[in-house]
């Protein structure tokens, strides 16, 4: 049996860590803090939480995974008392409850263990940052919220975590708040997520309204019991929920914040913006699979948005030169793959890809962080190159992760991506084609990144021969360069063979490379749980599918079936996906390795300058949004404010002119005798301000009276023109 109180400790320990470190970081910001204590608290709490999570999962699995384990800690918001309007409506309360089932177990292990590893990595990466303790405060707080999100047994607890991780995300994106663009990026993430949360909270509201509860178990039980009676409302619910997922998981049209979110420190990019938080949308969709399966429309929307995002972001990734930007667009693209999987009904494949992606993308981001760290804050791949010699460990681990994401068997990415492609093929050939092209792009841009960074000759800052043709966003991309440049200098004391005049790259400390190795190994072997045993005469379902099967509840008497294709089709599909990966890799090798002057891509860039421009500027989506949605909203708010402050004046002035004619000097008499008289009564001191008194901030007192009078007219109008 799972011990519910140990399970409760899993999120509470990081919360405690955040509280202690937060106290230390904010109350004595000036005093130098002992890093060892910060480390002990931050890593200790997450490591213990990871161990407890593993223990809880083990004890859950030992008790059988057929039924979810659920524990109500207390009734958070009790149901109202006289509300027995029939049936389940009386259950309108919310419990603070946790739920363990194969889905939350999977997410729990990913979040705690990858989170713990990234904490360890960050001790090395952030070692010279002045905001060290503050950073770990936010990171621990994030862990707490993320764990609430995955452990919660109802949509409301999930919502708490959902908002919480969003908050931590903004705080961490804007961590280098003294850099203007970092704060701007935080704001952008915030706004995009607000739009998403609009949908999410309305979806929850609709779930509440339809099922009378937000508890997963009860909602799904009702779907099982009443089957397709909810089909109509399910479409609305699912589309609203999916808007929320688009915001959190950076799908079209709300993906714009994620590339900018790279302004945060790199461990944050790895943990929050690659491995965990951005997959919350996928988790939520898979969690709600019973609802989504009720609505083929919603499923189709999810699949199409996912596929389009996958190819759209991958195409932008083809031409980016900032190492983190490439990875960011890659993340958006991979998230698109996950939604494609969920949309075509392969919910287990979606979660499988969440898992493998967490391994290899965390490894890639952390490797990129190591590269940036080693190159003294440089993020432009055109100024890297040849790092294999300087950073052998980073090179080896990143190469493994790059192969994994490209989809070469038997590394992790292959199995999950192949499962998605296979399912997409069964659902719709066009979607499959899009996904295959996106997969080709992925292999290409990832190996482009690899060759530009690690092979060839080092083209660092002091090496001649690279033209300064940085696009105008260059300043935005040099994330935290200031901080890191300082770090680089201090690092040289540690004796990595630096010369004072030439700043050569150096390998990162063991706390960073050790984590890289663990993640690289996971990227290699992590996919084996999804080994298609069916092809070799084994069980039809993979281990991972069987593990997740209990969360796919039946609808009515309609049980969930995994996609099945004939063996020959499957073999062909596998060959295709390996083939496109190899093609992408070969192309990258040919263009960026065999020809060190990169003449082909440069020539293509000039010959097809329009396409190149469009891709380089990310399809001008930011510009379009700024011109339309954001500009429009700002204008609207200003207009309304202006309306409130001025239109009353204008209106009233007009009326006053008429009044003056009609009533002669009545108005001025009012001022003179009533207002001034009152002022005199207030006291001598007031006389100084009596001129200010008459002319109020935004109008005359009479105007307000007039507004009130107008209000009454309005009420009367409402009365006359509405029906009871």
């Amino acid at each position: 049996m799972v011990n519910p109180w140990l399970l409760l400790l899993v999120p509470l320990l990081p919360a405690l860590g955040a509280a202690i470190n937060g106290f230390r970081a904010f109350w004595w910001p000036k005093t130098p803090k002992n890093r060892a204590i910060t480390n002990a608290i931050a890593i200790g709490s997450t490591a213990l939480s990871a161990l407890l999570a593993a223990y809880s999962v083990l004890s859950y699995v030992r008790g059988g995974t057929e039924h979810a384990f659920q524990h109500v800690y207390y009734s958070w918001i009790p149901a109202g008392i006289g509300q027995v309007t029939g049936g389940f409506i009386s259950n309108f309360g919310i419990d603070f409850a946790f739920r363990l089932d194969p889905l939350s177990c999977t997410m729990l292990l990913i979040v705690t263990w990858v989170g713990c590893l990234i904490h360890i990595y960050a001790t090395g990466y952030m070692s010279h940052d002045t905001g060290y303790t503050r950073f770990f405060t936010y990171l621990n707080l994030f862990m707490f919220m993320m764990l609430l999100l995955v452990l919660g047994a109802n949509y409301m607890v999930m919502f708490v975590g959902w908002e919480g991780v969003g908050l931590c995300s903004y705080l961490l994106i804007g961590f280098y708040y003294d850099k203007n663009f970092a704060a701007e990026a935080g704001k952008k993430a915030f706004i995009a997520n607000r739009v998403g949360d609009f949908g999410f909270i309305l979806g929850i509201f609709l779930i509440f309204n339809t099922f009378g509860t937000s508890d997963y178990g009860r909602v799904f039980a009702q779907i099982t019991a009443h089957g397709h009676a909810y089909a109509g409302v399910a479409t609305a619910i699912c589309l609203l929920l999916f808007v929320g997922a688009c915001g959190k998981s950076a799908q079209i049209p709300l993906y714009v914040w994620l590339p900018d979110a790279m302004a945060g420190p790199t461990p944050v990019s790895a943990l929050i913006h690659a491995a965990t938080m951005v997959t919350a949308g996928v988790y939520m969709v898979v969690r709600s699979n019973a609802l989504f399966r009720l609505s083929p429309t919603a499923m189709a929307v999810v699949a199409i948005i996912g596929a389009v995002t996958a190819i759209f972001a991958a195409s932008i990734g083809l031409v980016q030169n900032d190492i983190k930007k490439v990875l960011a667009y890659s993340t958006v693209s991979q998230l698109g793959f996950m939604f494609l999987a969920a949309g075509v009904g392969a919910f287990t494949a979606a979660i499988f890809h969440v898992m493998t992606h967490a391994f290899f993308k965390a490894c890639l981001f952390l490797g990129a962080g190591s590269v940036i760290h080693g190159c003294g804050g440089e993020q432009d791949m055109r100024k890297m190159g040849g790092l294999r010699e300087y950073m052998p460990k980073t090179h080896a681990t990143m190469l493994l992760a790059t192969i994994a994401i490209s989809g070469i068997p038997p590394l992790a990415g292959f199995f999950s991506k192949d499962e998605i492609l296979g399912n997409a093929f069964g659902y719709s050939i066009p979607l499959w084609l899009i996904a295959v092209v996106a997969a080709t792009f992925t292999a290409f841009y990832m190996f482009r990144l690899y060759y530009m960074t690690f092979r060839g000759k080092y083209r660092g800052a002091h090496v001649e021969g690279i033209e300064e043709s940085e696009p105008k966003h260059a300043g935005h991309d040099l994330i935290g360069s200031h901080t890191h440049l300082d770090q680089g200098d201090q690092h040289s004391d540690k004796g990595h063979g630096h010369h004072d005049d030439v700043h050569l790259p150096h390998e990162s400390p063991a706390s960073m490379t050790g984590v890289l190795w663990i993640l690289a190994i996971l990227s290699v072997i992590g996919g084996l749980v999804g080994f298609p045993t069916g092809l070799f005469g084994g069980a039809k379902e993979t281990i991972f599918q069987r593990w997740l099967e209990p969360i796919l509840v039946p609808i009515g008497d309609h049980h969930f079936h995994f996609h099945e294709a004939s063996k020959s089709t499957e073999v062909v599909l596998i060959l295709v996906s390996i083939g496109v990966a190899v093609f992408g890799i070969a192309l990258a090798r040919r263009w960026y390795f065999s020809d060190p002057s990169w003449s082909t891509p440069k020539r293509l860039g000039t010959n097809f300058s329009f396409i190149h421009q469009v891709l380089e500027n990310k399809y001008y989506v930011d510009e379009i949004y700024n011109a339309t949605a954001i500009g429009g909203t700002v204008k609207l708010a200003r207009a309304l404010s202006w309306f409130d402050a001025n239109i009353l004046d204008g209106l009233v002035n007009l009326v006053r002119h008429i009044t003056v004619i009609v009533l002669g000097h009545g108005s001025s008499m009012f001022d003179k005798y009533v207002v001034d008289g009152a002022v005199n009564g207030v006291g001598a001191g007031a006389r100084e301000g009596s001129s200010a008194l008459r002319r109020m901030q935004s109008g005359f007192v009479q105007n307000y009276a007039l507004v009130m009078g107008g209000g009454i007219v309005l009420l009367a109008a409402v009365y006359m023109f509405t029906k009871a």
Partner: protein
């Protein structure tokens, strides 16, 4: 002729909290006059008197008093606690504020207490005249408190503006009351309720006029749109703790008075469009409050518009008076007192001339300079925007749930949508606190031990209600049950 004795047994117990505050206020004035050297003690003494008042609730007799004009019950106790809480928070915040602004005078706290008495009368009055009496007692105290900084034009302006507009509003309420009296032949709410319960009653246009006038007057006190324009100017000019108090406590008192009136009208409401009017007021308030607040850079003006929106949410629950509605309003007012006074509290500590606007730039980077105060402001903003796990989320959830269960799904949806939009301007404050470098010549924060204590009460209360609201729910629901069981 009904010969009920005017003074029932235990009448003293019925008005014990009011008596404590009345006498306490007089004592403070005398103390101030005869012991001018011990002036710094007036604040702490005021807090003690408020606590005494809360403690005296233990001895309060429940029932109807003074010839059926004064009703003491569970719900009035809940609201008394809100008023006392607002009074204590305001006193704590003022203690340091007044000293810094160079204002002396025990009458400040005395006025606060007497204003609280007025609110208690509004909450307990079972007669429209008693409610108006309480309202006027409250208003007079507010006029003086608003203009307490005699030397500042803005303060005078605020006072005068509130005075003129308040007089106007009271006129409406009185006129409406007179019309109701003409129809129902009584100002007693119970008698009116019996008249409304009569199945043969016809709703004449005159009654509708009376209702509209009443709503206009009370709408002014609540700062409901379109009766809101005074609020931003008055809050901006008022001494900041008073502005916080004004934005909270009188609204609570007005709401409970309206609950009584609406409940009495209950039987005829389905055949009138009166509640449509109220619904429009709520919708307008939510939309105007939330959208205009986005464009504000002055913190007090922003909070004024936010308050307009918040009262719009509370009004949603009034559309159908049932137990959940009353309980949710009671809870919302308590949470609102905590979070809004907390927010005004931090602003009141910005050591800046009252005359100058206190804008977002003044709090830039506060997170690094004064972590506790920044945290308090951030928590209040989270709560105001309704993010879990704060009290603001719980109370807002309760309000919207009540509205949905009563069939006002559309209006609840507008509430939810506008409240999501509101997160933008609330969290912009947090953004300035933690993600902006403080400007040159940064504004200092002057917070003494009392003000800090008030903020601590706010933070703890917000999280306590946010994480474990059950006891409050049960108390409020039970009190609401008793109120409506008659």
């Amino acid at each position: 002729m009904n010969l009920t004795p005017l003074l029932e047994a235990h009448w003293i117990n019925a008005i014990l909290p009011e008596l404590v505050l009345c006498i306490g206020g007089m004592f403070l004035i005398l103390f101030d006059a005869f012991a001018p050297k011990a002036r710094s003690l007036t604040g702490p003494i005021a807090v003690v008197i408020f606590i005494l008042c809360a403690w005296s609730q233990r001895f309060v007799a429940v029932g109807t008093f003074f010839g059926g004009t004064y009703e003491v019950g569970g719900i009035t106790r809940v609201f008394d606690i809100t008023f006392v809480l607002a009074g204590i928070l305001c006193t704590l915040l003022s203690a340091d504020y007044l000293e810094r602004e160079g204002i002396t005078g025990g009458e400040f706290y005395a006025l606060l207490m007497w204003g609280t008495v007025g609110m208690m009368m509004m909450a307990k009055g079972l007669d429209l005249l008693i409610i108006i009496l309480g309202l006027e007692l409250l208003s007079i105290c507010i006029f003086v408190l608003l203009g307490f900084q005699r030397r500042l034009p803005v303060s005078n302006e605020a006072s005068l503006k509130y005075f003129l507009m308040g007089a106007f509003a009271t006129g409406f309420i009185l006129y409406g009351t007179a019309l109701f009296y003409g129809a129902t032949e009584s100002t007693n709410i119970n008698v009116m309720a019996r008249w409304f319960a009569n199945p043969d009653v016809t709703i004449t246009p005159l009654l509708t006029v009376a209702f509209v006038l009443l709503m206009a007057g009370f709408g002014f006190k609540l700062a409901l749109a379109p009766f809101h324009p005074w609020a931003p100017d008055v809050y901006q000019g008022a001494p900041t703790p008073v502005a916080g108090w004004l934005s909270v406590a009188p609204k609570a008192a007005t709401l409970i008075a309206l609950i009584r009136i609406f409940h009495a009208m209950g039987p005829v409401l389905p055949q009138t469009k009166w509640m449509t009017i109220v619904a429009w007021l709520a919708v307008l308030s939510m939309i105007i409050g939330n959208s205009v607040a986005i464009a504000q850079r002055d913190l007090k003006r922003m909070l004024a518009y936010s308050g307009i929106a918040q009262v719009g949410y509370m009004t949603i629950a009034m559309l159908t008076i049932n137990e959940d509605a009353v309980a949710s309003i009671a809870i919302y007012t308590i949470v609102y007192a905590l979070m809004n006074l907390g927010a005004f509290g931090v602003i009141s500590m910005l050591a800046k001339n009252q005359n100058d606007p206190q804008t977002l730039d003044d709090i830039a980077g506060l997170g690094w300079r004064r972590p506790f105060h920044a945290l308090a402001l951030a928590v209040c903003m989270f709560s105001l925007s309704g993010l879990p796990p704060t009290g603001g989320f719980v109370s807002k959830f309760y309000i919207f749930r009540t509205a949905v269960q009563s069939g006002h799904t559309g209006i609840a949806l507008i509430g939810i949508i506008t409240s999501i939009a509101s997160v933008y301007y609330y969290l912009r404050v947090v953004y300035y606190l933690y993600m902006k470098e403080s400007a040159e010549g940064q504004t200092r924060i002057d917070g003494g031990i009392f003000a800090t204590g008030a903020l601590a009460i706010s933070i703890i209360g917000i999280f306590l209600i946010g994480i474990w609201p059950t006891p409050l729910f049960h108390a409020a629901s039970y009190a609401a049950h008793l109120l409506l069981a008659r």
